[in-house]
């Protein structure tokens, strides 16, 4: 049906998701960690769309739409939290923000 096999898209999504996960695990700048979460969300979207194409049913496109909407809400609230933390602590290093770790 498609010139590009659906597995290609799934491999790409797997690479993208693990790159995002690697960033979340390794980076300490809270903003970069957020960006890596966005990468992981996009990998999930790519998988939704690949399976929608393979099954010939575009309901998966609606799932991707809702993921984008929730990602927008998450970015707004998350970045507000980053600003609030920076204002009270003067840092966005996730290893120095450990007040709730007890």
């Amino acid at each position: 049906m498609s010139a590009v096999p659906v597995q290609n898209f799934l491999y790409l999504a797997a690479v993208l998701f693990t790159l995002g996960m690697f960033g979340v695990m390794v980076r300490r700048n809270a903003l970069v960690v957020f960006m890596c979460v966005e990468l992981m969300l996009n990998a999930a979207n790519l998988t939704f769309l690949a399976f929608a194409r393979q099954r010939g049913d575009d309901t998966g496109h609606l799932s991707a739409f809702f993921v984008i909407a929730v990602a927008a809400a998450e970015a707004a609230v998350g970045l507000a939290i980053v600003i609030a933390v920076f204002r009270s602590r003067g840092t966005v290093n996730v290893e120095e923000i450990r007040t709730m770790k007890h």
């Binding site: 049906m1 790409l12 790159l19 960033g23 970069v32 984008i68 970045l79």
Partner: protein, 168 residues
Amino acid sequence: MTELVLFWIFAAAIVVSSALVIVSRDALHSAMSLVAAFFFLAGEYVLLWAHTIAVLQVLVYAGAIMVLFLFVIMLLSLTETALGGGRMSFGRAVGGAASAALLVLLVVAIARMQVPAVTLDAARQATFGTLAHVGEVLYTRWLLPFEAVSLLLLVAIVGAVVVAKARI
């Protein structure tokens, strides 16, 4: 054939730009690489015939969300020196190894997967992923989730203002 060539061009660009997001020392460079990755992902979405989502990807992700990120980065004017050096800790090494293991697991699972080919009739193929068809399904069968998302966005706006404002 053209589609396959385009797929590999976009895939290589996506992997390179998302790697740059992770390795850049400057958060601003990370954000710009992420914008590039989102644009190339929109290209992949077009190859999957998801035209509506490709447009939304550019408008909402590469546009609105990344502008928000750039705004916050410039507002806080962060430098990497303020975040300390690239010290290697046990937890970070474990995290890196876990993501590498997950990649191997996913690749093996996809390689073993059986994908039956589904053929579309011509009428279905003409509407697949178009703005008209996706919009029609969204506003009929998925109206309630759609309205719930609007409520979620409203709550997020109010929450963002309450959290980020110094004194209310």
